[in-house]
């Protein structure tokens, strides 16, 4: 019973409490790039979740076989294999999504959520726990993407779920192709500056909510969250990296 409870926790923590994008500030590149439309976000979310779950399971299975010194390259090979598989699946079944995501699809390899979870969780925990951790984190990532994309698509393009039929036609549904809501949208929001702006505001909102619940703000944990932290000389040299001093200052302030 207690074990079931803790497994449920592994799953649910990724959704809100430790949401990879909004709380751990991981995977910012794909979040900013893909959240132009809800359809792309759902596609990206599913692809990343698939890779995350599969790589978490395999890495967890192999955790006693992989020597710790070469674990990062080993993880990268596992992740890259699954990304290649997902890439081929998307190319074959949803070519429109492949065109929309472009280079960001193969770049799931270097998405720090996936390598980060491999390093922080799957390399140390049992297979079922790693599976649920991957699933939860993947759904949390998708959720954050959809929140961003909803704002950016409705205000920036004036549509909602535009060209969703490229995904739903896999299930035989092609009649629904999304809503048109605004006639004169704020086009800037679908461009690069809009990505940064909306992410900043969503982050501020997430911080505000966390503050209400008495939890610490999401900070860019920078090097600490980076999967390369263990092998990184920037961390070793100063025992802390660029962003660490800021955190210390904050602690001092709160102590005062």
């Amino acid at each position: 019973m207690a074990e079931n409870k803790s497994l449920a926790k592994e799953f649910s923590k990724g959704l809100i409490k430790e949401n990879p994008v909004l709380r751990l500030v991981l995977g910012t590149c794909p979040t900013l790039a893909v959240s132009v439309s809800v359809t792309n976000s759902i596609g990206m979310g599913i692809a990343a979740t698939l890779v995350l779950v599969c790589s978490n399971v395999v890495i967890s299975l192999l955790r006693k076989v992989i020597p710790s010194k070469i674990r990062i390259p080993a993880y990268i090979v596992v992740i890259a294999s699954f990304v290649t598989i997902v890439q081929m699946l998307v190319k074959a079944f949803v070519p429109a999504l492949n065109d929309a995501l472009g280079v960001y699809l193969p770049l799931i390899v270097v998405n720090c959520i996936i390598l980060g979870r491999a390093e922080a969780f799957a390399g140390k925990n049992s297979v079922p726990a790693s599976f649920l951790d991957g699933l939860g984190m993947g759904i949390g990532f998708t959720f954050a993407l959809i929140v961003m994309a909803t704002i950016r698509e409705i205000l920036g393009a004036g549509t909602f779920l535009d060209s969703i039929d490229s995904l739903t036609k896999l299930f035989g549904v092609t009649s629904f192709t999304g809503f048109t809501l605004l006639k004169q949208p704020i086009a800037m929001l679908t461009m690069a500056p809009g990505g940064f702006l909306v992410f900043g505001l969503v982050m501020a909102a997430a911080n505000r909510i966390a503050e209400h619940q008495g939890k610490p703000k999401a900070e860019l944990s920078g090097c600490a969250a980076c999967p390369m932290a263990a092998s990184c000389a920037l961390v070793k040299k100063d025992e802390k990296c660029e962003t660490a001093p800021a955190k210390e200052n904050e602690k001092e302030e709160s102590a005062v």
């Binding site: 990268i76 690069a192 501020a204 390369m228 990184c232």
Partner: protein, 198 residues
């Protein structure tokens, strides 16, 4: 002319950080001080150029020739990881002064999406060797321009009175939005100068 166009496009209109969202982690993480921003971006230019020089022949003569295109992602990331490790060892042994300056940033760059991104984009765009090299160096230079500009902006942010909810990361992102907005002003500039590219 075409090479100059590619170079300027990579720096200004298709800036890796500000327009393509590649390499956001170091952009937000290492841009607090000008010195580290410069060190990081120099290392990025170096690794991007080297990665392109190595992956281009591998892709052309090994993968494409044997119909193994689908292995690109896996091969490129492994080559980049091995290359970075190799460069680190060589620099440490033979050019310690350069290692001092760049070495600490090298491991971070392995999983930097800008490096894998530039290599994949070169293949996607069907660039030849010279074009690929120029695109990579231009991309790295654009990375540097964005890092240095943003380091300046962040230093100014330090002493500002910011609404409580926006403190920290949110205001950094909003500042990045404004820097990015200014780069949108370059759209069309390269077309205007060279009139060759769409």
């Amino acid at each position: 002319m075409k090479l100059a166009g590619i170079f300027l496009t990579a720096i200004l209109t298709e800036n890796f950080i500000l327009c393509k969202f590649l390499g956001i982690c170091p952009f937000l993480g290492v841009s607090k001080k000008l010195k580290t921003a410069i060190g990081m971006s120099t290392a990025v230019i170096f690794v991007m150029a080297l990665a392109t020089a190595v992956t281009f022949p591998i892709n052309k003569y090994l993968l494409e020739k044997n119909g193994l295109d689908y292995l690109q992602t896996i091969v490129f990331i492994l080559v980049i990881a091995a290359l970075v490790q190799f460069v680190e060892i060589v620099l440490k042994k033979f050019i310690p002064s350069l290692y001092e300056a760049l070495g600490i940033y090298l491991p971070l760059i392995t999983t930097n999406c800008a490096v894998l991104g530039v290599v994949l984009l070169n293949v996607d765009n069907g660039y030849n060797f010279a074009e690929s090299m120029i695109n990579s160096i231009g991309g790295g230079a654009g990375f540097m321009v964005a890092m240095i500009m943003f380091a300046g902006v962040r230093e100014r942010l330090e002493g500002c009175d910011i609404p409580k909810a926006l403190k920290g990361l949110p205001i950094t992102l909003i500042a990045a939005a404004l820097v990015s907005l200014s780069f949108q002003g370059f759209s069309g500039v390269v077309d205007g100068i060279f009139g060759l590219f769409s």
